[in-house]
Symmetry: C2
């Protein structure tokens, strides 16, 4: 196969350019607003695929959003093979141009005809767009990897974290020449289960108490921009602009902005509860969660308390996690060095630390851990592209 | 008694002036660095005490620190009666002047002779200063209210949250004319127990899982200034200055900076575990905690999962909390309005919300709550002054 891919070029466009220290370690030159995604691929591979006749045709739906942009970055970094690339967005963005792997693409307006001849559709344009166009794309023979919550809990739709339950999508392949929908779990669920699953496999999680520290990116690129704008305003002694959230976010934190459901849990918390049961295929697992938005840009943190059915001491847990795919252990007690959202920003791996026996539980049946993962990457775009890779 | 107290005047001094949106709602005109504390008293009282011949003589040790400054603000707001006020600090600050309630005070260097004739000594100058001078002051007949961790776990030293266990210091009174040491609990413990205790009294807490979201102020005024400086630097594309913490704090969060102990818990977490047992006088209560520093200025948040011995439904819990002294319930599910650190900043009350039945526990034996409290105020200075009030 010919080595056709080239690095994604930086794109011209307005928007504030920020240092990596705001947005994460590998995002130098990245723009917040507008269409831009210069980056250095973290994992150069021997065989470069990219644009290749034998690859599937791929559509990216919602390409101008934070996750849409990351889809492109991840596809390029991982040399995902494609014979054709269609970039779709709302009418507002149609006609704009994006340079990807050295080629110029015009963004097309999403319509019912968009999925003609498209093998794989990566959706990240919100739940209502997914509900309207996802089934349509699948009917037209496309395999939809949907980043919204629209189909996650629908029976028959696999809800996949590739490192956790790839088997649940084993029956869906491009070679079947048949459309399908596969759902990408919620970011908090993905990041939590990347760390909890290897331990669950060993000792079976009975109950899990999760408190999250969630980044602005989960509410989209505009929320990231608002956090930055508010922070500048507050430091300058001005009233903070509150368009995305109805309160000051800079130097503050608040209960997750999703709607509170009848049982007092917000939707974000219920995703953690329900999606965990589906992904682990364990309707009995007990989960409670408190989801909080913190003034961090693009990576989530989670404090997770685990109760196990079988014994699991902290050293065994650390060993298990250090061998787990997609997980990196950062657990230096003497140096007080543990995972931080900034250090996992733009990284693929979920970082786990503070691994310790829960002293509030008798014996070795409980652990506390602290987990950080990039919300846009493993929490969304990377996980979706990994799902797409399983289709090949 | 004569109405002698006047409002604390704003003090001249260098330092960056910041809006209330950085430091909290009632701190307009407050300086971060330098000695300054203009504020509007939140609770004007009919009888004004302040400087009065019949009051005790009071020393404030560590008056230039964040908590020391708040001691003065709280003493003034609450019209704490005093016949004499001695402001003590290190040699470095000695000779500087502070205007308090319309009078000029010269800061004196803390020495072994400082406590001659002092009835009440409010200490907040770190553990080593407390260890050296606390017992000395007590020997000289002063009742020490110590904000450090030096004596908290010492047998015979009451560890007091006035709303929770004032009875444990009932034997210590100014009228005894006898020195003593009373310890102020750690900020995270105070804020947690303000909300958990009313529920504990009703249904007995068996186990508690706490995850904290802790403000910069817990590490002192210099840490608050560093967070502000770093944020400016990062937004300006500069490397963040890391003097207080060894990593970027702006737009980031990290495991609490206290040392990690042998069992993998850091000291901050072990304070929550041990102090809760002592304050509740219940060596059996099970507590686990994960303490995280978030980029917020002066109020802590805590996500608390509770397991009870007896049943307690969420409506009863809300009713109990709404009647609890020093607690305000902010629990508007339809408006998605819950406690935030910014809104409790410079407030006396601890705010509690997200009160809901824990769906991971059978029956009504579990609750999740979310708590915010001002770290400098109820977490330190206010609690100490409330202790001092009990001595009168």
């Amino acid at each position: 196969m010919a080595a056709l891919s080239v690095q994604m070029g930086a794109l011209a466009g307005s928007g504030v350019t920020l240092r990596s220290s705001v947005y994460g370690s590998k995002l130098s030159g990245r723009k917040i607003q507008g269409i831009s995604a210069s980056r250095i691929a973290s994992r150069p591979r021997a065989v470069r695929m990219g644009l290749t006749e034998s690859g599937p045709s791929v559509a990216v739906v919602g390409v101008t959003g934070a996750v849409g942009q990351e889809f492109l970055a991840v596809l390029s970094e991982r040399n995902f093979p494609y014979s054709k690339l269609k970039l779709l967005a709302s009418k507002r963005s149609a006609g704009k141009h994006i340079s990807f792997e050295g080629r110029d693409y015009e963004i097309e307006e999403l319509t019912k005809e968009s999925f003609e001849g498209i093998d794989i559709s990566l959706f990240s344009a919100g739940g209502s767009i997914s509900k309207e166009y996802g089934p349509l794309a699948a009917e037209m023979g496309s395999i939809v990897v949907d980043n919204s919550s629209a189909f996650r809990m629908v029976d028959g739709v696999p809800l996949i974290v590739p490192e956790v339950n790839a088997d649940a999508m084993a029956h869906i392949k491009l070679s079947n020449k048949k459309g399908a929908i596969i759902a990408n779990p919620n970011c908090s669920t993905i990041i939590c289960l990347m760390a909890a699953t290897p331990l669950h496999r060993h000792a079976k999680v009975k109950r899990m108490v999760v408190s999250t520290y969630q980044a602005a990116s989960g509410a989209g690129a505009a929320a990231m921009a608002e956090l930055e704008q508010q922070t500048r305003e507050v430091l300058d002694g001005q009233e903070p602009t509150c368009n995305i959230f109805n309160r000051q976010y800079a130097f503050n934190l608040f209960s997750h902005n999703s709607a509170v459901t009848g049982n007092g849990y917000n939707e974000e918390e219920m995703k953690l509860v329900k999606e965990t049961r589906k992904i682990w295929n364990d309707p009995e697992v007990l989960v409670t969660a408190t989801c909080i938005r913190v003034p961090v840009m693009r990576a989530h943190a989670e404090s997770i308390n685990l109760q196990f059915e079988r014994e699991l001491d902290e050293n065994t847990a650390r060993e298990i996690l250090s061998k787990a795919e997609g997980v990196v252990v950062v657990d230096d007690r003497s140096g007080n060095n543990f995972p931080t959202p900034l250090e996992v920003s733009s990284k693929d791996d979920v970082a786990v630390g503070r691994i310790r026996k829960d002293i509030s539980q008798k014996g070795n049946f409980g652990l506390d851990i602290f987990v950080c993962g990039d919300q846009i990457r493993k929490g969304a775009a990377l996980n979706a592209v990994q799902i797409a890779e399983k289709l090949l």
